[in-house]
Point group: C2
């Protein structure tokens, strides 16, 4: 996705977030500037242990990279309790980044750290869209369409009240308008049949709530087959189902590759046929690579 | 799958069930006898409108087909209410077939008719496995394994109590023992993480119930990625999630084919590469063809 902006965009980066911090975070940030078009209006604000960051950056070529460092003294680990760290780690890179985004000092904040802490901190500091009571995890799925399909919720809320599903519809609509530039994103509610009466209790109730909100372009219930077909722009579901969908879809290319290997191993002729299929197969499957769709808004 | 039996097997067939009845039902039944090995011990009991059945069969070559006809006078259509038809259509092919199976006059009964009526009639006439309070729909999924994976429930019970999930585990275990010949089918409970505490309320409760039943080979929670990986033999889930999984998985090959078409259309070179990939691709995708896995036990 290409960023479209008239004014420079400042993005805060939690350099202490991921499993290989700060190396991978910084390599990622630097690589963005390889693409002059993409980074034209971009500035990165790096948050974290100043010594470690400078140490890592000292032998890198940073001539094209626009960045500043904001030193922080604490780190939230994957084992920290989200609510606890919100209180006790206010000088962590995660907390400070979220705070800068909330204050408008930066336009966005990115972290690969503790998901729960990110969710809790963002919710407290940035608050939520009006009418939305629960944060959620959304993710883009490859689709048979020009733009990907947003799956929301992909795992934050496993036990969902109908109200939550309605709120996911609102958030998904706002998000795909902003990020994909869609004018009236088509919202589908995941169920087990297209008819209004189909589904479980939550889905039937949520259907009515989404339908009544005339600001949403609600196309009604959709089914499992619609998640990647491009028949809608936003698929609304509870976080349990969303997580299962995400992980199932991620596993499918692996199964296809394994079957290809079986096929190739079954005869010499098939080995040749499978080899000639590889360039096309690789190209097609790279379009399903979830690493291209990663990250959670 | 090959039938293994020491004594002749009698299968009752509802000739009036499907959308193209009785033609497709009878063609199907006849074609089984093309394979002498498969049909060695087989006898088909055809239930339905005797006139229509004889009319269709009169110009067919039936020299190898072992069959008898049981005439019935009523037909349950797709629009009939399941519970209502149970009371008012006792001389239907569906009711009579289920009755013969329940009485032991035949070893099995097959119908392509009204799923709800089939479910209701079978439940009333054949009753259930001890300890099982709800019938379910199960379906085999292609897996990265010698045997397919049973997905249960695939859509019969959308709002599931923990007890239902436990019962699906029992049914799935019995079924895969009988049909796939597995000695200790590996039962996985679908959740959003492998840890016992992960999942929604139902799943957490069901986990304990399944774990306590020592007759089951319970391998714990599994995730979306395990549905087709072959890491377990039975995937237990509620009917809502199961239905979504089934329809998502069915749609995946279509998306891959569509991407292949885009790839082929993007340049002359890619057209050639895509064409050379076709034989391998077709063979691999035929192994995902859900028509090979169709039918619901």
């Amino acid at each position: 996705m290409e960023l479209k902006a008239n004014k420079p965009i400042k993005v805060a980066l939690d350099a202490m977030g991921g499993d290989f911090a700060p190396e991978n975070e910084l390599l990622g940030a630097i690589s963005v500037f390889d693409d002059a078009k993409q980074s034209k209006n971009l500035e990165i604000v790096i948050l974290g242990d100043e010594g470690k960051i400078n140490n890592f950056l000292k032998d890198k070529n940073l001539s094209k990279v626009k960045y500043t460092i904001v030193p922080t003294t604490q780190v939230i680990t994957m084992h920290d309790d989200p609510t606890e760290s919100l209180k006790t780690k206010k000088d962590s890179s995660l907390y400070r980044g979220a705070e800068m985004a909330a204050n408008g000092e930066v336009d966005a904040f990115v972290s690969a750290g503790n998901t729960g802490a990110m969710l809790a901190t963002s919710t407290v500091l940035m608050r939520r869209i009006k009418g939305v009571s629960r944060p959620s995890i959304a993710t883009f799925m490859p689709s048979d369409n020009e733009t990907p399909t947003l799956l929301i919720d992909a795992g934050a809320n496993v036990d969902c009240k109908p109200r939550f599903l309605y709120e996911f519809a609102v958030m998904g609509s706002v998000y795909t308008k902003q990020i994909l530039g869609l004018k009236a994103p088509r919202i589908g509610l995941l169920s087990i049949g297209e008819e209004e009466k189909k589904g479980n209790d939550q889905v039937r109730e949520a259907h009515q709530m989404i339908k009544e909100d005339k600001s949403l372009n609600f196309i009604g219930n959709v089914e499992g087959k619609d998640v990647m077909s491009g028949s809608c722009d936003v698929v609304v579901c509870d976080g349990f189902t969303g997580n299962v969908i995400l992980k199932l879809a991620e596993s499918f290319p692996k199964l296809v590759k394994s079957r290809f290997k079986q096929y190739a191993d079954s005869s010499v002729k098939n080995k040749v046929l499978a080899a000639s299929a590889m360039p096309a197969l690789k190209s097609v499957f790279s379009s399903f690579n979830y690493e291209n769709y990663g990250g959670v808004p």
